[in-house]
Assembly symmetry: C2
Homo-oligomer: 150 residues x 2
């Protein structure tokens, strides 16, 4: 078996490949029309990452107009599901990419009693990784929600 770094840096036929750091830090949930939807491996908050499956895009404005509309729709869909299913007090949305340049959008459900509140979650303490079975339960629920939404 080839090492990860070799496996993920080969992209000769322009196929979209998730950034390796995103693969390491998340569980895969599902693919929507534009974005791969990932669960951040941090049980402190319901924290989803949406990654448009387009190569060489670092900023939202670099996406084609049609893709921007899809991105908006998919962010909203995820945000509303998080808000409703996790009874979040507030949704935090962020597109930074200072460390992982591949365009990805954080969608995080916040509660007024969560560890970082009211600070942003980014850079706050160390992740509390999921037990695999707990992550799986959340993932299965989210797949159902995402597939039954209009």
């Amino acid at each position: 078996m080839k090492p990860l770094s070799s496996k993920h840096s080969s992209n000769a036929n322009n196929k979209f490949v998730l950034d390796e750091r995103l693969i390491i830090d998340t569980y895969f949930i599902t693919n929507l029309s534009l974005c791969s939807i990932l669960l951040m491996n941090d049980a402190r908050y319901p924290w989803i990452i949406a990654v448009p499956r387009r190569n060489k895009i670092k900023e939202i404005y670099e996406l084609k107009s049609r893709d921007q509309l899809l991105l908006l729709r998919e962010i909203n869909l995820v945000a509303e599901i998080i808000k409703s299913k996790f009874e979040s007090d507030k949704i935090n949305i962020g597109a930074m990419g200072n460390i992982v340049p591949q365009l990805h959008i954080h969608i995080v459900g916040r509660k007024e009693n969560d560890p970082a509140w009211p600070a942003p979650v980014w850079g706050f303490g160390a992740p509390l990784t999921y037990e695999k079975k707990n992550a799986t339960e959340i993932i299965i629920n989210l797949i159902n929600e995402l597939q039954t939404s209009p």
Copy 2:
């Protein structure tokens, strides 16, 4: 003269009123079709805040579809101007609202040698406030850019 808190809490006729905390922390730049555009009073980074002039909206998905499209367009416009005029390496976009509930979107130009890089700017150190004349110069330039953009 009435105290600030009284002045800004009176909103009987449903007129849009900027959150007082945003007024305190920023300089006003201009109004676009949907958003008031503000300059964060922190000279460490080119940091713009876009505030949709709609009452009682806390999440992007609560905006009407037409307003969501305007918001996307205005965020992109500001992001591209920052990227170009301040030669930013990366644009950071964030919608949190954990402290100020009125929907507002941060659009921040980042450089690889700025004080917080690669961490997000939120909660990083204390603001370095502008000298009024320096803020004014940036504001005049941004007004020109925003008004001449398609």
